[in-house]
């Protein structure tokens, strides 16, 4: 245990830490690593890959819809494409992308050395990757899920969808749900325990608030959809009657289970992204966020309210008008916390001293898209008007303004912002600005006209439409816009490729940002901080300039007297609210078990899909063995915990 004065040279300390923390090179290390930064970057790359897949699916659909009565796609192909587009973007891009940011950034922002459960973190990534592959396994066979990402029964039941399409969907989502749930549990425990001393809850970056809120929501919401998918699969393959009307089942049960998950889920897809903006936008306004406390409260209250609005997806199902009215009113109320956040961002810009960089453009552009997506949501909250709007292109416009506007724009802005930290190099700003304008113009050209086509009555999820609808030219504009947007994404990829090779070196803190992750090197060492920082304020790197109090955070070289924890793989554990250090946590080493366990789950899923009992049994036995190895008690001295404060 190393506490107090450490007289060794800093270089020696770093070498010791490196020896303890570094993953061994080679294939084993690649599969076994539990470093949150490696896992975070893997999450980001994999999610971006799925963004591209889902985007290409969208482009193919936009070609089919460019003009009336086109026959580029058969209706069956179109149905598979829009189902996979939705499933990919909602499940394989949007949340994993944000998980990538949080996995990478949390320990750095919180001044810790890793997540609370590093192996669980690795498991969460591998399961996500394999579930993504599993969901695509039937795509090349022309048997991909084809009943929409919402998969309403009975259209998704065996009688009306006899292939393996929906079995892949149901089993794939259950599989993926494991990743989401263990990831969420990991975030929550990390927040409670793995922070630097002094990083009390009122000093957390808003991104941390956003991901924490989303994680709690996911723990509550994801089981609903996993259960629904299990019931769907049992209905399809084993003759149960959860939804099957001939056996007394209820199709509406599916809708309730799906949306009681689905609506909190869409908030989970935007709150961390809003957190990215709340943290990074003020840096380019050269000031702190206006109304930190208000924004943190609005984040949490959005999620709480978000659990009470799911029926607004079901306004046309014939539920009693009285209950619809409550859900309609709740859907209006949820706009209030969003308004708080929006006014806080505008006030930050208003009172700021701007540096118009690429990330700033993405965040400022995001505010406008947030407002447009917000007011179209306000219109759909109205139960009477929604009876007309629902299932038209107006909803397509709304959800893309919300999910692209509030997720993709902050994400691309955030990638520009943290790329220097991750790679040590800055993305080219000129190319970045081209990226922003191409994406912004393309996005609005693609999706704004859909408001109008929706108001003209164009239904969603139709593979073609007649010329007399009068929406042909608007759809052509949408298609052109979609391709322009795709060019923007391509420019971003070119920028990444270029800057990785020849980008300007970043230094520790290229943006002069205030939070802890900028105190360490770019890219950070595997152990993050040579000594655990001690945090004294919300903006540790701006304290001298803000001069708000007497206390100063102790970071970097100045922290050499602090906690080095170089006896073993360790980090500091703190009390949940005030972040008083009270325990040294032993961190697990690299392990190939998460990878093997995920492979086992993949095999198990295939076994269930093919209904191959022997395969299921073999995989289940392997899983039990692997779990037993994972949970096997460690030698006593390895779990010894050292109290350092009473």
């Amino acid at each position: 245990m190393t506490i107090g004065v450490d007289q060794r040279a800093a270089a020696d300390t770093r070498q010791t830490l490196l020896d303890i923390w570094e993953t061994e090179p080679g294939l084993y290390g690649w599969l076994a690593t539990v470093d949150h930064k490696t896992i975070g970057i893997r999450y980001l790359c994999t999610a971006f890959f799925f963004l591209i897949i889902g985007g290409v699916e969208a482009l193919v659909m936009r070609v089919q819809l460019a003009q009336p009565d086109l026959k580029v796609l058969s209706p069956d192909a179109y149905n598979q494409l829009f189902s996979m587009h939705g499933t990919t973007m909602m499940f394989l891009y949007a949340l994993p992308m944000l998980s990538g940011f949080s996995n990478y950034l949390w320990p750095l922002m919180l001044g810790s050395r890793d997540m609370a459960f590093p192996r669980l973190n690795a498991l969460s990534y591998w399961v996500f990757l394999f579930a993504g592959i599993f969901l695509y396994v039937s795509f090349p066979l022309g048997q991909a899920p084809n009943a929409g990402w919402f998969s309403y029964v009975p259209n998704a039941s065996l009688a009306y969808d006899p292939g393996i399409n929906m079995d892949v969907f149901a089993l794939g989502l259950i599989f993926l749900g494991i990743s989401t749930v263990v990831g969420s549990a990991n975030f929550i425990v990390t927040l409670l325990r793995c922070r630097a001393p002094g990083m009390s809850v009122n000093r957390l970056p808003i991104l941390v608030w956003g991901t924490l809120t989303a994680s709690v929501a996911n723990l509550l919401a994801v089981p609903a959809v996993s259960l629904a998918c299990a019931m769907l699969w049992l209905d399809r393959r084993y003759g149960t009657h959860f939804f099957e009307v001939t056996g007394g089942g209820q199709p509406l049960l599916w809708q309730h289970l799906f949306w009681v998950f689905g609506h909190p889920w869409v908030y989970a897809l935007v709150l961390p992204a809003m957190g990215i903006v709340s943290d990074a936008l003020p840096v380019f306004c050269r000031r702190t966020l206006v109304g930190y406390t208000l924004v943190a409260i609005s984040t949490v209250s959005t999620m709480v309210l978000g659990f009470g609005v799911w029926v607004h997806h079901m306004f046309a199902t014939g539920l009693p008008v009285m209950s619809l009215s409550f859900f309609s009113a709740a859907s209006f109320v949820i706009a209030i916390p969003s308004a708080i956040a929006m006014f806080a961002w505008i006030a930050t810009i208003w009172t700021g001293k701007l540096q118009v960089t690429t990330p700033f453009l993405f965040f400022a552009g995001f505010i406008m898209l947030f407002v447009i997506g917000g007011v179209s949501g306000f219109m759909t909250a109205s139960v009477a008007l929604d009876w007309q709007l629902t299932d038209t292109y107006f909803i397509v416009a709304h959800l893309h303004y919300v999910l692209l506007g509030i997720n993709v724009f902050p994400v691309i802005g955030g990638l520009h912002f943290w790329f220097p930290k991750m790679s040590g190099r800055i993305l080219d700003d000129r190319l970045g600005k081209w990226t922003f304008w191409t994406m912004f113009v393309g996005f609005n050209a693609a999706f704004f006209p859909m408001h109008i086509t929706g108001l003209m009555g164009l239904p969603r999820r139709i593979y073609t439409y007649p010329a007399a609808m009068g929406v042909g030219w608007l759809n052509l504009v949408s298609t052109i816009g979609a391709f322009v947007f795709a060019v923007g994404v391509l420019l971003f990829l070119i920028n990444v490729a270029k800057s990785l090779r020849a980008g300007q070196a970043a230094g520790n803190n290229p943006w002069d940002a205030p939070t802890l992750e900028w105190a360490t090197t770019s890219p950070p060492p595997v152990y993050n901080f040579a000594t655990i920082p001690q945090v004294a304020s919300r903006y540790p790197l701006w304290e001298d300039r803000l001069n708000e109090g007497e206390d100063r955070s102790v970071i970097g070289e100045a922290a050499r007297d602090g906690m080095v924890l170089d006896r073993d793989k360790e980090t500091i554990g703190v009390t949940p609210l005030d972040a008083e250090p009270n325990v040294v946590l032993k961190m697990p080493g690299d392990s190939v078990l998460p990878f093997l366990l995920s492979v086992g789950m993949l095999v198990l899923s295939f076994g269930l899909l093919l209904q191959a009992i022997w395969l299921v049994a073999a995989a289940a036995v392997c899983e039990f063995v692997l779990l037993a190895l994972w949970l096997a008690p460690m030698p006593h001295d390895a779990v010894e915990k050292v109290e350092i404060y009473d």
């Binding site: 259209n155 000031r287 206006v290 706009a335 810009i349 208003w350 009876w387 299932d391 003209m456 010329a467």
Partner: protein, 329 residues
């Protein structure tokens, strides 16, 4: 092949008095009208919010770039936070206003002012609509397909059911959607205050031919409606000697009904008074002899996945069947 479709839709457009056959912002009647007004109101509020926030953002961006000194300093945010409070307070007023307007509209349209005199059963199925009229006694019941004929200025109750998956009944110019869910009967109502033809469309994704699951609503004057009803109550005007009659009985009667003949199939639409319908194949094509021949010959090309198989009939047979059906007034 589908060059006739635009013409058909153009006819609907003219009859529907609007540029877009499914546009609902110019809806009228006691259900459609209040929703359209609410729609315009909320669009106005939304546009206003976008403009105000857009202006605020532009001013903020302009103000923020005047500074040469980018040093970080402590700023007193009391005023800024007060302005956030003002913005949120104004937003809340509009939100409450919109919520109240919504609830008032719901109350206004949930039930007709007078009792419904006419009640229809509409059953959605892949991918067409069966419409059942109930008479005073069961002998006066009859079924038609893909076309609702209703009298003007009369509230009509619609009982919605589904035979397979979830569909949604939607006549944008007359009111909002109501889902048709297997094992449930959802009840909605509509009332037209103008004579004319209105377009309906399935509003819930229902599989392969969701795009081609449309129907028509014909609104007639009360005397015209009474006359139409009388004609429907008669069996089909069939002469058994027609060449098409025999072919129909052999090739089509297993799925289709023509009242007053041996044809009694229930899988496909009832064709008893087929010649009176505006469209064929659930709004796909205008009902003309040429289109009918085309439909019988190319069912799966025109509507891929439709439950009606391609019959591979001889050209003469097809022509005879089409002529026979077009004679069913």
């Amino acid at each position: 092949m589908r060059s006739a479709v635009p013409l058909g839709f153009a006819a609907f457009s003219l009859a529907g008095c609007s540029s877009s056959p499914l546009g609902y912002l110019d809806a009228t009647g006691p259900v459609g009208g209040p929703i359209a007004r609410l729609g315009w109101g909320l669009i106005a509020i939304s546009a206003g919010v976008c403009i105000v926030v857009g202006i605020l953002l532009v001013i903020a961006l302009w103000r923020g770039q005047r500074h040469a000194d980018l040093e970080i300093k402590t700023v007193d945010d009391t005023a800024a936070i007060r302005w956030i409070g003002v913005g949120v307070a104004i937003s809340t007023v509009f939100l409450i206003g919109a919520a109240v307007w919504t609830l008032v509209t719901v109350r206004q349209i949930r039930q007709p002012a007078s009792a419904t005199a006419l009640s229809l059963d509409v059953t959605g199925q892949d991918w067409w609509w069966a419409v059942k009229y109930r008479g005073a006694d069961p002998a006066q019941d009859f079924t038609t397909a893909n076309q609702l004929v209703i009298p003007v200025d009369v509230p009509v109750q619609i009982n919605l059911r589904s035979r397979d998956v979830i569909h949604s009944f939607w006549v944008p110019k007359l009111g909002g959607k109501m889902d048709m869910i297997p094992s449930r009967t959802n009840v909605t109502w509509l009332q037209a205050d103008k004579i004319g033809d209105y377009r309906g469309q399935c509003g819930e994704f229902c599989g392969l031919d969701h795009a081609f699951m449309a129907f028509d609503v014909r609104v007639l004057s009360k005397p015209d409606y009474a006359a139409w009803l009388d004609r429907q109550l008669l069996p089909a005007a069939v002469s058994a000697g027609e060449p098409g009659f025999k072919t129909f009985m052999v090739r089509c009667a297993v799925c289709h009904t023509i009242r007053g003949t041996p044809a009694g199939g229930i899988l496909g639409p009832d064709l008893s008074h087929f010649a009176e319908r505006e469209t064929i194949a659930a709004g796909l094509l205008p009902n003309t002899p040429d289109n009918l021949v085309n439909w019988i010959n190319n069912t799966q090309t025109l509507k891929p996945g439709a439950k009606m198989p391609e019959l591979h009939m001889l050209a003469a047979e097809t022509r005879d069947v089409a002529a026979f059906l077009e004679g069913l007034k």
